[in-house]
């Protein structure tokens, strides 16, 4: 049996990728299971999904703690998630990035495969939906399923939902990623500091779970704690407002799910500490004053 952990963000389709990979493995005569683990379901929030593949029935129902492969759909997750956690000794991490494996810095040097799945998705699909392209990279890095099976799985899963043409485009994205994937070794030395968690035992847990504003080892929790939750680090795309074009209609201010747009002297302004880059503002702006561009973080 081998196990895969997918790291993505809510709305990026990590769960679909994990399922499509399971289907590809199944099409080759394997037994495969796949399941997601959601936190607070919210666009942009870190989410995980898992796939297990074996040649016999899989009975275990736990999450995957010691994966053979880790797939990172969004390279910004490396900053906040311990993507190498539990990775097996000879395990491989597959990352969506414009960088080469040797340019990727992780907590230790590991087998690493990289591909610019976002670039491919933008080119082939016209949208930054990377969950099919990344499967091509995964097939390449594992060598455990044929790219043809991945294409077939994508056709079945995505084609059925989005139509034949869209299915074919997604399959093409996977094939392109398969061909462009670079395999090497990452750099190490970038220490990962896990965010402390507030885990009260039965004696510390407030009665009825009623929580005011509380300072804990994990920072502020409860009322007003959102101030400390800087959702800006969820961003892969960044909005830029052209103040010349902005007519001050407040549509973006009204629709922004993070409430991070304010009106300054009649024009919209974004607080990038909290902007998670969802693009809703750009979609709603009647004056086309907001442009979303891909953000590259150091």
């Amino acid at each position: 049996m081998y196990e895969i952990r997918f790291h993505g963000r809510g709305g990026q389709g990590g769960k679909m990728a994990a399922e499509a990979y399971a289907l590809a493995a199944f099409l080759e005569g394997n037994y495969a299971v796949s399941f997601p683990f959601f936190g607070a379901e919210r666009r942009g929030a870190p989410v995980k999904a898992f796939t297990r593949v074996d040649d016999k029935k899989i009975r275990i129902k736990t999450q995957v703690y010691e994966p053979d492969y880790v797939v990172v759909l969004d390279e910004t997750l490396i900053e906040t998630q311990d993507v190498l956690e539990g990775l097996k000794k000879d395990g491989t991490v597959i990352i969506n990035t414009q960088r080469k494996p040797e340019e990727v810095r992780l907590s230790k040097p590991v087998k690493c495969a990289t591909v610019d799945a976002t670039g491919i998705a933008l080119e082939v699909l016209g949208r930054p939906i990377t969950n099919t392209a990344i499967l091509g990279a995964l097939a390449r890095a594992t060598g455990r399923v044929k790219i043809e099976s991945v294409e077939q799985a994508i056709m079945e899963k995505f084609g059925a939902r989005l139509g034949r043409e869209s299915g074919e485009k997604n399959a093409r994205a996977a094939r392109m990623a398969y061909e462009q994937t670079l395999v090497g070794t990452s750099q190490g030395g970038k220490e990962f500091v896990p965010r402390p968690q507030w885990l009260p035992d039965v004696h510390e847990m407030p009665i009825g779970g009623a929580i005011g504003t509380m300072k804990t080892e994990a920072g502020l929790i409860g009322i007003g704690s959102f101030v400390e939750n800087k959702t800006g680090d969820w961003r892969t795309f960044i909005p830029a407002i052209d103040k010349e074009k902005c007519i001050g209609c407040r549509f973006c201010w009204f629709y922004c799910p993070e409430g991070c747009i304010s009106m300054v002297e009649g024009k919209a302004e974004v607080n990038y500490d909290y902007c998670k880059g969802c693009g809703i503002c750009a979609h709603e702006c009647p004056a086309k004053a907001i442009e979303m561009t891909r953000e590259v973080k150091a």
């Binding site: 607070a40 885990l199 039965v202 009825g208 779970g209 929580i211 007003g224």
Partner: protein
């Protein structure tokens, strides 16, 4: 605030006793939706408000679901609340019951036990309250209207206790109590106010000091909260014993804790009853005793928390135990029977289940006699029946 009310004797319905109990306990917010046979409780409370006897906020709602929602919100804001329901109304409230209990809000809600459709019936059956077993509410049954009034008052004392903080439903049988008048002695408003004191919430919604309750919680948090609720229910046993003792000293009526034993001391067999059948069964016990049969009665007052320890002590001294149930858990047996057998695991005496009075069918003295007769046979090893349907046409008991 309520008007000054003197100690008095009244001849009242069980519903009136429930409403009077809520009012004299100083309920500040009432939200309820009428349903037969609880309707009188809502009407009587509305009359208290209309007549200025209490200045409680009476909220008219469009369903029982909303009634419970309103009580949850009011209790979370720090008010002492009161509501009442029955049958389908309780079923409609179901999802909100969990929330009230998990938020640890000591809401008091008399439930008039009425059959849940189909077919539509308005008479007594416990298939409304007993399926609420796992919502986290305390649940008990009354034998007469005096107990209804006293128990509503005690309910606040138990529910608001710091070691408990759980909602409670004191139950009364449809019509047999709800619409039956009998003499009831009510304490004065001063006595009750002194006995209960002010409701002091542990945490409350307050704009000056904001608080979040009932928010989203991932698996890292929920299990500890469930443990809290389980322990609160275990604590409730001790608190109930203390409160009934204290109530007896203060008001002179003794309810003996979670159960009451009647002529059990030297009994060969005992029957566990619940609700109004208890009164009838007392008569039968006396008559059988006169005929030299050593039978006893255990009045089970609390279904949640369940009096495990009390029943274990009784099982040590008797030769057979019968459990009367007015509801069926299909495919297993009567709810109280299931609980009793679980509590008495390891005891080798026969334990029998008697199902009778379902759908409000009258449970007569001869029915109770039959139960004792079969128990005495079981003690002698003459029957090994377990689940016995009494008075069901075409079914031999």
């Amino acid at each position: 605030m309520i008007q000054k009310l003197e100690r008095k004797k009244m001849v009242i319905t069980g519903d009136y006793a429930a409403a009077y109990g809520g009012m004299i306990s100083g309920a500040e917010v009432v939200a309820a939706y009428p349903i037969t046979p609880q309707t009188l409780i809502v009407e009587d409370f509305a009359t208290f408000v209309n007549d200025g006897i209490t200045d409680a906020e009476f909220i008219m709602v469009e369903s029982e679901h909303s009634a419970m929602s309103a009580c949850i919100a009011a209790q979370a804001a720090g008010a002492r609340t009161f509501t009442a329901t029955s049958s389908q109304g309780l079923a409609l409230m179901h999802e909100m019951l969990f929330i009230a209990a998990s938020l640890r809000l000591p809401i008091v809600m008399p439930v008039v036990n009425r059959t849940v459709a189909a077919p539509i019936g308005i008479w007594c059956e416990y298939n409304d309250s007993m399926p609420q077993r796992d919502t986290g509410w305390m649940q008990m049954s009354c034998e007469d209207n005096q107990e209804v009034l006293d128990m509503v008052i005690m309910s606040y004392k138990i529910a608001e206790h710091r070691d408990v903080l759980l909602p409670i439903m004191p139950c009364l049988d449809a019509f047999i109590l709800s619409h039956t008048v009998e003499p009831v002695e009510a304490p004065s408003s001063d006595e009750v106010a002194q006995y209960l004191g002010k409701y002091e919430p542990v945490a409350k919604l307050d704009t000056e000091n904001p608080m979040a309750i009932g928010t989203f919680a991932p698996p890292e948090y929920i299990q500890e909260l469930r443990y809290h609720n389980h322990m609160a229910m275990e604590n409730a046993k001790r608190v109930i014993r203390e409160v009934t003792r204290d109530f007896a000293r203060t008001f002179g009526h003794d309810y003996h804790g979670l159960i009451e034993e009647y002529r059990c001391d030297d009994a060969d067999v005992v029957l566990i009853t619940i609700g109004t059948v208890t009164g009838t069964a007392r008569e039968v016990v006396d008559e059988l005793r006169e005929r030299g049969k050593k039978v006893g009665l255990v009045k089970l007052r609390f279904y949640r928390p369940f009096p495990r320890e009390e029943l274990q002590k009784i099982a040590e001294r008797v030769g057979a135990i019968g459990v009367y149930d007015r509801a069926v858990s299909f495919g297993s047996g009567g709810p109280m029977f299931i609980e009793t057998r679980h509590a008495l695991y390891g005891h080798s005496i026969p334990i029998m289940n008697f199902l009778a009075g379902i759908g409000g069918r009258d449970v007569m003295k001869k029915d109770v006699e039959k139960m004792f007769e079969m128990l005495l046979e079981a003690k002698e090893g003459k029957t090994s029946k377990e689940i016995v349907w009494i008075g069901t046409r075409g079914v031999t008991p």
